[in-house]
């Protein structure tokens, strides 16, 4: 078996150069909690592994006019301890923090979870609901993409050859907003989502919802932005009727598979239940 090369560049420019110059397949390494498992199982056979954690932009959290710019390799343990992000976007944090165990949280990152491309990824619905964008670099330069456009299918992303995600930006949080993420798993911890639901909403002074985004995970080949779910909430006071409409829209948007974790019928039903519950939590947080 051919040896795998390893590089730990210290700048984005250096990383782009190394990736572009790689012979054979190259894999970007953030926390490694997915990559190393796949490597061990023989699911990936790269010729080069590029550790991006030594690049400052990838490992820092910045607050700017656009919102929070979170380095793609920032681990859950560090992001979860950032009080400012936690206050603004608790739903995104709780999605990331549900991944794995304390040990996994010491390494796992938003960027890694996103680019691994699992339809059941726990951090993605919250990011989609937050209308997050990511900064991508490659040999052709820098570009921006909405998080919901990254995962294109199970294990597949829209990233072009030699591109990688540098950071994820969570927008500035308007007043009277709240978000939440809920997932269903058969165990208490350490499992893959059977259904994940992320909801973010904003209320006006009268308590009417003026803005909302609803996202579902694990119920389609990729995480879904459920536009009809948002429509069910906008213009309402998020009352029982609106929540019913939201649940129905969530279930209608599902296109899941039958597998050992859940049947199509079960996932479809639970999607509606979790979307409703997440909306209620988001509402409480918006009113607080």
């Amino acid at each position: 078996m051919a040896d795998i090369e390893f590089a730990a560049p210290r700048s984005v420019r250096e990383a782009v150069k190394i990736l572009a110059g790689a012979k054979g397949k190259a894999k970007v390494l953030a926390g490694g909690t997915d990559l190393l498992v796949q490597l061990r199982a023989g699911m990936v056979r790269p010729g080069l592994i590029v550790d991006i954690k030594q690049i400052p932009e990838l490992s820092t959290i910045k607050k700017g006019k656009k919102g929070f710019e979170i380095g793609a390799a920032v681990p859950g343990a560090v992001l979860g301890a950032n009080k400012a992000v936690l206050k603004a976007w608790p739903g995104v944090i709780e999605g990331l923090e549900l991944i794995g165990s304390t040990q996994i949280q010491g390494r796992a990152s938003l960027g890694g979870n996103l680019c691994n491309g699992s339809p059941a990824a726990d951090s993605i619905p919250g990011m989609i609901a937050a209308d997050a964008t990511c900064k991508i670099v490659g040999p052709k330069g820098t570009r921006s993409s909405k998080v919901e456009d990254i995962v294109t299918g199970p294990g597949k992303t829209s990233l072009k050859k030699d591109e990688f995600v540098v950071s994820i930006t969570l927008p500035e949080r308007p007043k009277k907003s709240g978000d939440a993420y809920l997932r269903f798993i058969p165990r208490t911890e350490m499992d893959i989502a059977v259904v994940g639901a992320g909801v973010s909403l904003t209320l006006d002074k009268k308590g009417v919802c003026t803005h909302a985004r609803v996202a579902l995970g694990a119920v389609a080949p990729k995480p879904l932005l459920v536009k009809d779910g948002a429509k069910a909430l906008i213009g309402t006071t998020v009352d029982a009727a609106a929540l019913d409409a939201l649940a129905a829209a969530a279930s209608a948007a599902c296109n899941p598979i039958d597998d050992k974790r859940g049947t199509i019928e079960y996932r479809t039903k639970v999607a509606g239940v979790l979307a409703r519950r997440a909306a209620v939590i988001a509402l409480e947080r918006a009113r607080a």
Partner: protein, 158 residues
């Protein structure tokens, strides 16, 4: 291609080793450095038997490439006891019979030490959630949690 030469710090000692890219830190600890206290239970980050701290953060050493150890500081089970005496966590694990076969024990002790450094006064629920990544086939966890709570109380000076 040539192996990577890595310089790192383990349990306070400056350590150097050579490794292939695909060797994990766990592989190197056990096969190259003779530190067999960390165990391989799953090689996929699910069981926690390989738990170490990296720059003060609890991680699975089976999910860290040895090459990533460059310039980092690690604490393994071998560094928990001092030269003269056992750590209170170790004493309480013994007193409360929180181990049977003992293969998960190093991982639990490292994880518990990390817990109590992060939160010296956890509730039982907080302790259980923190330790969700450490699996035990023998004890049923109850005595482990008892040992953790008692060690925490002693370390707080309660």
């Amino acid at each position: 291609m040539a192996k990577h030469h890595v310089t790192t710090t383990i349990n306070g000692d400056r350590t150097e080793f050579l490794c292939d890219t695909e060797q994990t830190l766990l592989d190197v600890l056990r096969d190259e450095l003779g530190l067999t206290g960390s165990k391989e239970g799953c090689a996929s980050g699910d069981c926690g038997a390989c738990s170490v701290t990296m720059n003060g953060t609890l991680v699975c050493s089976c999910l860290v490439l040895a090459a990533e150890a460059q310039d980092a500081k690690f604490e393994t089970i071998e560094g928990v006891a001092s030269a003269e005496e056992l750590h209170p966590i170790q004493r309480h694990f013994l007193q409360e019979a929180a181990l049977q076969c003992g293969i998960c024990t190093p991982g639990f002790i490292v994880a518990t030490k990390a817990l109590l450094e992060h939160n010296p006064d956890p509730t039982e629920t907080e302790a259980r959630y923190w330790l969700a990544g450490n699996l035990c086939r023998c004890t049923g966890y109850d005595k482990i949690i008892k040992a953790v709570m008692n060690a925490a109380a002693e370390m707080r000076g309660a």
